[in-house]
Symmetry: C2
């Protein structure tokens, strides 16, 4: 018998949007696939009830924004990376595809400033306008004891 | 009027566990706060229906495991970092606290091997036994064009 925690049929396991992406990007097909491929500066408008959770975030800080890629197809388990049919079919957990069972997006970026107490201006974000944001975390430095590790965008 | 996408009251916005952590860690209080603080090797048992999504993952690869920290308190917006009352109260989005509106955990680790076609053995993982896993992604290298960026565990 399994003893794992299973979500009850209530609000558990259900994400709440903590904010929304505001961006000049509107077409997922035209958006860059990764931040470093030329993503624009963007805003994250935090929902008023969650503003106290921003205390301590500082401009210049590197952060991870976690989004819900609401246009992702949750039934897809394999994709041709970068939408190129020449690339072999690959399991979605080996890719950053937005099509996946839980379409969470990880976006490493830098906080430039906070406007009006609740709008985060971030250096670059490849999510389209209106994308729900579900979490925000500071980046952690890779410990010096692990110099063999590649750097990462999260 | 807002045009943001809002989750309908169905399965949208609800996470599905894609697997479960198997670990010698059972007590959240005793678990290390970050992987590099001595987290043990662990297993992630992928649910059978999602096995095709593993195709292409290779031993030795650096990955991000995203968990649902089911013991997190979703009503908490501020914490004393590292549970130390001497640290000033800080918004949870400026911390890696498990207490947060959407208790998602980001765990950077390395895939050591895949056993029995569906059990991932990872080098270190600070999540406790039975923690639901909701996503798995390859780490992306930080682009060479951004050498100013610190390395990150995601």
């Amino acid at each position: 018998m399994r003893s794992d925690w299973r979500p009850p049929e209530s609000e558990a396991f259900r994400l709440r949007p903590i904010g929304w992406v505001r961006s000049v990007l509107h077409d997922p097909g035209a958006a860059p696939k990764q931040n470093y491929e030329g993503a624009p500066e963007a805003r994250v408008e935090i929902e008023p009830e969650f503003l106290p959770a921003l205390d301590g975030l500082e401009p210049g800080q590197d952060v991870v924004v976690i989004t819900w890629l609401h246009r992702g197809d949750r039934t897809v388990l394999g994709v041709h990376p970068r939408d190129d049919p020449a690339n072999p079919l690959t399991g979605v957990f080996a890719t950053r595809s937005a099509d996946r069972p839980n379409p969470l997006g990880l976006h490493r970026t830098r906080l430039l400033r906070i406007e009006n107490g609740g709008t985060l201006v971030v250096e670059q974000l490849e999510a389209i306008d209106g994308t729900p944001v579900v979490d925000l975390k500071p980046l952690l430095p890779t410990p010096a004891a692990r110099p063999d590790r590649p750097t990462s965008d999260g």
